[in-house]
């Protein structure tokens, strides 16, 4: 969730950094480039002015030398010495004057230019071309100078006449362009100075302020030929040096005289030192700016991001349904607006939620809290263990009212009922509408436990008064189911279910009021479970048939078996047939049970016949089965498919089943009977069937209910009933079977009464299918003799729940 602000921060940071980088780098690049150019240009300018200064300085120096030599040449002593004409005197005076002038070379020339003396040596006197030119100039100008190469060195030559007073000769003095001069020039120009002496395109030597190693580091001899008399300057940037060179030698037109170049130079590193410092400074500034901008971006992102995060948190809280205070945001701009909007939104949501909550927990028609509200209120009650009575109230006959008088009227009834019920409760009590015509009233009964009966009576009095509704007097009638908390229920679910159970029962209870009784819920739950599991029971193999034999009385022979359905529930264990058949009928599932029974019974019959027995099997049909018009046809079809005679199957029906829909029952039974299947009346004597009805039914057999047979031996009334029933049945042509024969005495009595067949524990308990054949095989040895014999004998019998 922090993702959004962080991404925002990153974006902002990135933007700032990129911007700063761009601006800074371009600025720095521009500044550095400009300053570099500037620096180089300055260096060049410096060199150019250095060249100029060098040139001027040399010119000045030449003028000074000229003056100096002229003064010396005019010296009377010097002239006197020359006038002597003695070679040694002349040479020594020349040397002396040269020493005074600081000259490195001195020559004396005759007025016609012939070299007479040259000091310190005469080796270079061959270079007369240079002196001829000098002489020509001197005759023209009274003096002459030349800068030229002589004896491998660069010299400034100065020639002046010696007059005594007429011209008696020329003095030439040469001043070498030596290190000393270079140093002077270097001081004046502030640059390194170098003289390059070249002859015949070859560099003879260099004189420089630089060290000997340094001065040869870069080339000078690559200079292009300088134009004659020019003072052009070339610059060269190479090998870490910026060099400006200019020709110094006086143009003579002859290569042999050599050339002198003067150069001023700067170390590139020195030139660029300031630039380098600037660059370092800029980098530092750049770093600082970047750092500051990153910090600023962080700050800004925080300044914007923090409120955003707070708002996001706030919105999240609103979304989660929580309640929070809007974050304080000191911003009059968008963020502030967003905060205010979110706050307004929260308020709107709260209002809407409250409305929806109210609607969801209240019944629109009556304005009473609804089932949901009831549940939460009950949950509270239970949680706090508050004793109370829960009254579940149903308007009796409401469905009929709706149908006959219309739903609008029904609604009016509901409203009225709601008012009444509300009025019938006291202040702390609560009333809810929990269903179409059902209300729930929760009555606090602290501190004393109330008299339920009195309460009920008082409640009824207040509710069941006639109301005049749309000019029709209506009397409200209510059913009440009551449950006491906390004793009778521990959960809301239980409260609702158990109160409903009680209400259910109230319909049949006296006074239309039922108080929940312990265990009702469990029965109800068991029924729910069984009903639910019934469908699965067949597939899961939980259902099976057991067989109980019917034995003829004279002689005692096993003639038929009654197939009885058994359900072994995986959790509840053995389930009595009475219970689950009833549930199956209620839930409309009996049909598929019957189908299964028919199939299983027929399969068993086939097994009998395979094993050499021809006993028939009887099955029980319910009222629901009889109402199924297609059943007879299906049964007969199945018998036919298996290739069995129809008389192998008998169907048993109870009196009560017959009575539910006598017409359809008669039709179904007639169809069976017509197909050759015997029909027996089961549990005869317990119902209300009349003999007249029996007469009309296609019945061949009566089964006297075991209630009359179990105690037959000791009960004379039963004996009378049984005997007369047998007689009556025989009169009607019906066969009689006695159920519940559990002792030999009863057996003998029944035989004496002329009963046709017996069934009961005395003879055999219902047995599993695979036990039938073995039992049949051993039957003669065990029972036949006893049953056919007269002597009385008590059979110990247990009263197991048995048989339908």
């Amino acid at each position: 969730m922090k993702l959004v602000p962080r991404r925002f921060r990153t974006k902002l940071l990135l933007t700032m950094v990129v911007l700063v980088l761009f601006v800074e780098l371009t600025t720095i690049a521009a500044v550095l480039r400009t300053t570099y150019r500037d620096t180089v240009a300055q260096a060049h300018a410096r060199l150019a002015s250095g060249v100029e200064v060098m040139y001027q300085t040399l010119a000045e120096s030449r003028a000074q030398l000229l003056e100096r030599v002229e003064v010396l040449a005019a010296d009377f002593g010097f002239r006197s010495a020359l006038a002597t004409g003695e070679a040694s005197t002349i040479a020594s005076v020349l040397a002396n004057q040269a020493g005074r002038a600081g000259a490195d070379q001195v020559l004396l020339l005759a007025p016609d230019g012939a070299i007479q003396i040259a000091l310190p040596d005469r080796t270079a006197s061959a270079d007369s071309g240079m002196f001829k030119a000098l002489l020509a100039e001197a005759e023209r100008n009274g003096r002459a100078t030349v800068r030229a190469v002589r004896a491998g060195g660069a010299y400034q030559f100065v020639m002046v006449p010696v007059s005594a007073p007429e011209l008696i000769g020329w003095v030439v003095m040469g001043f070498e362009l030596d290190n000393e001069l270079a140093s002077v020039l270097s001081r004046v120009t502030g640059l390194e100075v170098l003289f390059s002496i070249q002859q015949n395109g070859r560099e003879l030597s260099r004189v420089s302020t630089l060290d000997r190693d340094e001065q040869w580091r870069f080339p000078v001899d690559r200079l292009p030929e300088q134009p004659e008399g020019g003072r052009s300057t070339t610059t060269l940037v190479e090998d870490g040096v910026i060099l400006a060179t200019t020709p110094l030698s006086t143009p003579s037109g002859t290569q042999a005289s050599g050339r002198i170049y003067g150069a001023v130079l700067l170390e590139e590193s020195e030139v660029l030192r300031a630039h380098g410092e600037l660059r370092r400074d800029l980098i530092v500034i750049f770093g600082l700016t970047l750092l500051f901008s990153v910090l600023a971006a962080f700050g800004l992102a925080r300044a914007i991001g923090k409120p955003l995060m707070q708002l996001a948190q706030f919105a999240r809280t609103i979304g989660g349904g929580g309640s929070a205070k809007a974050p304080r945001i000191r911003d009059r701009g968008e963020l502030g607006l967003l905060a205010r909007t979110l706050e307004n939104m929260q308020n709107a949501i709260r209002a809407r939620e409250a409305r929806i909550l109210h609607q969801s927990r209240h019944d629109q028609l009556t304005g009473l809290p609804n089932r949901e509200a009831a549940e939460s209120y009950l949950a509270e009650q239970i949680a706090q263990n508050r004793p109370c009575l829960v009254l579940r109230i149903a308007l009796r006959g409401f469905k009929e009212i709706n149908e006959s008088l219309g739903y609008a009227f029904g609604d009016q009834i509901l409203k009225a009922a709601a008012l009444r019920i509300r009025a019938a409760t006291s202040g702390g009590d609560r009333v809810f509408r929990v269903g179409g015509n059902e209300f729930l009233s929760v009555m606090n009964c602290e501190p004393a436990s109330p008299d339920i009966t009195a309460l009920e009576v008082r409640f009824r009095e207040r509710v069941e008064r006639p109301i005049d509704l749309m000019e029709s007097p209506v009397t409200l009638r209510i059913d009440l189911g009551i449950i006491a908390l906390p004793e009778q229920a521990a959960t809301v679910e239980q409260v609702l279910r158990r109160s409903a159970i009680a209400l259910d029962r109230s319909g049949t209870a006296s006074g239309r009021t039922a108080v929940y009784e312990a265990g009702e819920d469990e029965v109800h739950l068991r029924e729910l479970t069984l009903t639910r599991d019934l469908q699965r029971s067949l597939a899961a193999g939980q259902m099976r048939l057991v067989f109980q034999p019917q034995i003829t009385m004279r002689p005692a022979q096993v003639i038929q078996f009654e197939a009885l359905l058994r359900w072994q529930h995986p959790e509840l264990g053995f389930v009595p047939p009475d219970e689950f058949i009833l549930l199956a009928e209620r839930s409309g599932q009996v049909g598929f049970l019957t189908e299964w029974v028919i199939k299983a019974a027929l399969a068993q019959i086939q097994q009998f016949r395979k094993d050499g027995f021809s006993q028939a099997v009887s099955i029980n049909l319910s009222a629901h089965d009889l109402a199924d018009a297609g059943l007879a046809g299906r049964i007969l079809d199945q018998i036919a498919q298996r290739g069995l005679p129809p008389d192998v199957l008998t169907v048993e029906v109870t009196e009560s089943a017959l009575m539910e829909d006598p017409q359809q029952a008669v039709a179904s039974l007639s169809a069976l009977e017509a197909g050759g299947i015997d029909v027996a009346i089961d549990d005869f004597g317990t119902g209300y069937s009349s003999l007249a009805q029996l007469k009309r039914l296609p019945v061949g057999e009566l089964k006297i209910d075991k209630a009359f047979v179990l105690n037959l031996a000791s009960n004379h009334e039963d004996q009378m009933i049984v005997r007369s029933t047998i007689g009556l049945a025989h009169t009607l042509g019906l066969r009689v079977v006695a159920e519940g024969v559990e002792d030999l005495k009863s057996w003998q009595l029944l035989r004496g009464f002329g009963c046709d067949r017996g069934q009961g524990y005395l003879l055999a308990k219902p047995m599993e299918a695979d036990a039938v054949i073995p039992w049949l095989r051993q039957f003669p040895e065990q029972l036949e003799a006893d049953l056919n014999a007269a002597p009385e004998r008590d059979a110990q019998a247990r009263h197991d729940p048995e048989v339908k």
């Binding site: 002229e70 002239r79 006038a83 100008n141 007059s163 005594a164 007429e166």
Partner: protein
């Protein structure tokens, strides 16, 4: 300076001419010498002297006295032609002292710093050119041409000089000299009949421009103060 030099020469020439005319009235022949420099321009102040060779029927001009005064820091005249043995005075008419000297072979002398008239005149007893200078005033320069010749003239501004030859003379030795002449004086023997005109070309140095002395502003100011 050229004006004063010319004037000086003119005076000297006139004096000599008068002397020559006075001594020999029997002048029968004369010819004109015209001299130009190497560049073709007429050369002034060339000393043209003649000597009748062999037959000296005519006396040599006597060695007398002459003077070159120093005035306004100049020698006057700047060029003096004298017969050998002439005594020359060097009167100083300036307020400053002068130190007149010569290193020339014809006469080497030196009159150290002096005022007024030196104690003794200098006698030029050998023929030849003598360059005079003042040791403390470099711009002061003068020439004395000492000669054994019978007669001499200086060329005028057009480079011409007219010379008379005595009747008895059949050939003369002609000599030309100029202060800026390169090398020795030019000599030539001219025989009768003498041509009306002789032309010569002398190889002369151009005058040396003076830098230090005349160019110096200090010197000029000093000169002004001195006058």
């Amino acid at each position: 300076m050229p004006m004063s030099l010319r004037k000086a020469c003119l005076v000297a020439s006139s004096a000599t001419l008068l002397l020559v005319l006075g001594l020999s009235a029997t002048t029968v022949a004369a010819f004109t010498v015209s001299v130009n420099s190497g560049t073709g321009a007429p050369l002034e102040d060339v000393v043209v002297s003649i000597t009748a060779s062999g037959e000296s029927g005519k006396p040599r001009p006597p060695a007398g006295k002459a003077e070159i005064e120093q005035r306004n820091l100049q020698f006057d005249p700047p060029l003096l032609v004298i017969p050998t043995g002439t005594a020359v005075e060097f009167p100083n008419r300036d307020s400053t002292r002068h130190h007149v000297y010569s290193f020339s072979h014809a006469k080497t002398f030196e009159i150290r710093l002096y005022n007024g008239l030196p104690p003794a005149p200098i006698i030029f007893d050998q023929p030849g050119a003598v360059a005079l200078g003042c040791n403390i005033h470099d711009q002061m320069q003068a020439y004395i041409y000492v000669t054994d010749a019978d007669d001499w003239r200086l060329t005028d501004a057009s480079g011409g000089a007219r010379l008379a030859i005595p009747e008895s003379v059949s050939k003369v030795s002609l000599e030309l000299w100029h202060p800026r002449l390169r090398g020795d004086a030019l000599t030539q023997v001219v025989k009768a009949p003498f041509p009306e005109e002789l032309s010569f070309t002398l190889d002369v140095r151009p005058p040396l421009p003076r830098h230090r002395e005349s160019g110096s502003s200090l010197q000029q100011r000093f000169d002004q103060l001195a006058q």
